[in-house]
Symmetry: none
Subunit: 205 residues, 4 copies
DNA sequence: CATGAATGAGCATTCATTCAT
DNA sequence: CATGAATGAATGCTCATTCAT
């Protein structure tokens, strides 16, 4: 994004920015935004404290950028995952399965987005959270399409339901992460998908 | 001092503890656990900073007690709300409606339980969270009963689903709170209840 | 002293004052003047915090009174111990033996006088320390008498030597106390007495 | 900043650590360890409060390092001072004279080592006090040598006597310091040396 | 660009002291 | 006299941020 894109595959610059973000993921995942220190992130990233301020305005900014950029990647993954499906409820099922599969695949990242995002919701309240709105937008689109083609009950309100779906996914992921990743997240994903698909489906479906 | 006097010359001792808890609700709801200062809570409660330490071990303890005690009240309310119903799915509907109605009734309290609890999930991770486990226990019991009497699909796993339900309720409440309480939470509650009841119901129901 | 004396052997009043002093001895002996809290002393004495302020102006005053009153008792003991002896060097020997024997007999008291007195030397600097000056006075008198009767070398300066003797006794007592009271303090007392008597004695003695 | 510039543009880094230690000497000497504040030491050293924590773990650590490092210097001085002498009792005399001469030369340093060390004896109890044990070791070695070559009475116990000597020196130094440095410490040193040398000497010496 | 020493505002917590009962 | 709840000033320590090199 800020790399200017180009022919060079990997600038030595910008590399450092990425290392900081990755370090932040690891640190925030284990300590909480307010408990984590900038010095800790710097150490984890192998850079000097001051270097962080060359790439990010301040600690808050670091969290916001982290969230935005990771969320964007997630959104792209979701779009790719639901694209193959035609029918809205199948898209929804794919959405749910994909979300939890991603958490399973990159637990630390999941932890940051889930736990830490919440930890600073007051912080988040103040910024636009564009990428998160996009995430919700994808859900809305699915629901809208389902209502439009009659596969979802007409009295469903997408704006409310999309939050509920996100909340359910998020909480299940959270309990999996905090609980030591003991149970099988994929099977839970199936359960959730089933519940929401059945719960939203129009009578005749 | 600010009691304005009344029938009782001086509130009983424990009164001060309650005032601190109430102040903590207000402050945590507006600032975040880590951002809020003890001095601020004290000021809000109309007591000296040191007084807080007569009733709570430290700032962490204050949050935990707050959560536990409020959560217990909520649990009692839920129990009362679902008691009149016989059938599990009706109990579930009552549960969902009651949860969000409570948030609507005491928004600040809801905010603390929802937002702030998450903000310090790392903190919470370390304490047993007895009252929260009780909350989940009520949900489990409903689901178990439904599976037992055949009203809920037999392949539903209560341990996964209960987190999903809580997550959905929580997130909807959160978006209502952070979004300025603009939409009608009760109507959303109906939507959620409908989705979960339909989503869980056994075929023939 | 402040009891007003009288026929009654033990007033119920004043008793409390003594209990506070005794508690202070125990607490100061185990924590240090600045580390010990008034509340701790009150608990140890079995009185309310505020009660201490009925008998002592403040925490500093408590330490000073404690020191003064205990030191007075010690001085009386010393006077009695050296009285039977005629010759100054024998009085000196008795002085030294008595001092360390007292420490051995009431270790906690010794600890307060030794360790804690030093801990607040800045505090002590400001008050007259009458009882301690009396203690030194007894030593001076012995030394003066010895010089006068020729048993002590004439070029000895009592004002310097008396501090040295006190310092030696004090340090030996300290090391015994802090070292867990492991060695035989009485035998050390003999050693010290021998050294000082020989070190001060006039040639011909 | 306050260096006034000079030949060197900016003192080497470690300079700051030394300045803090020197400031600590001055502050502890005038206030007592517990009464002195970290902010005061920082101000005296001309650094920010936080800077102290770059060089020392905490306030306790500052005192301990201060004691250890200064004591080491003293030990080296003593070793140099007694080296020229052959006979143990002459070494002892040199030891005593040197100790008090050092106090006279650097009163504030003396005050810290003497007064403040005692003030936190509870603190000191817990750390090994290596340098102080070394100090006592030098004394022991002298006494042992004297007993071995017959110049000191055979029934003298070095472990007891060395504490007595230290205590005597310490107390004399203390009274000189607290008493406003009015009398001639060197002459007192002579007196002490004479007493201990005579007091320890074997009969025939 | 990068560093990391230095800064100093900010905060949780303690505790001597007071005073209404 | 006695109590002990309440006070709030005081302090050790942390950590985001800066800036000279």
């Amino acid at each position: 994004m800020s790399n200017g894109g180009g022919s060079r595959a990997r600038e030595p610059r910008g590399d450092k920015r990425e290392r900081i973000l990755e370090a932040a993921v690891r640190v925030f995942a284990s300590k909480s935004f307010y408990t984590a220190t900038v010095a800790e992130i710097a150490r984890e990233a192998g850079v000097a404290d001051g270097t962080i301020y060359l790439y990010f305005k301040n600690k808050d900014d670091l969290l916001i950028r982290l969230f935005e950029e990771r969320m964007e990647e997630i959104n792209e993954g979701i779009r790719a995952a639901i694209a193959p499906f035609e029918r809205p409820l199948e898209k929804l099922r794919a959405f749910i399965l994909h979300h939890l599969r991603e958490v399973e695949r990159k637990p630390e990242l999941g932890e940051v987005l889930i736990v830490e995002l919440r930890q600073s919701s007051k912080l988040m309240k103040e910024y636009e959270a564009r990428a998160f709105r996009e995430y919700l937008g994808i859900l809305s689109a699915i629901l809208d399409a389902g209502i439009a083609d009659g596969s979802i009950r007409p009295n469903v309100e997408p704006r409310a339901v999309r939050r509920a779906i996100f909340g359910a996914l998020d909480e299940v992921a959270l309990s999996w992460l905090l609980g030591g990743r003991r149970f099988d997240l994929s099977r839970n994903a199936e359960q959730l998908a089933e519940i929401f698909v059945r719960g939203l489906a129009a009578e005749g479906a």
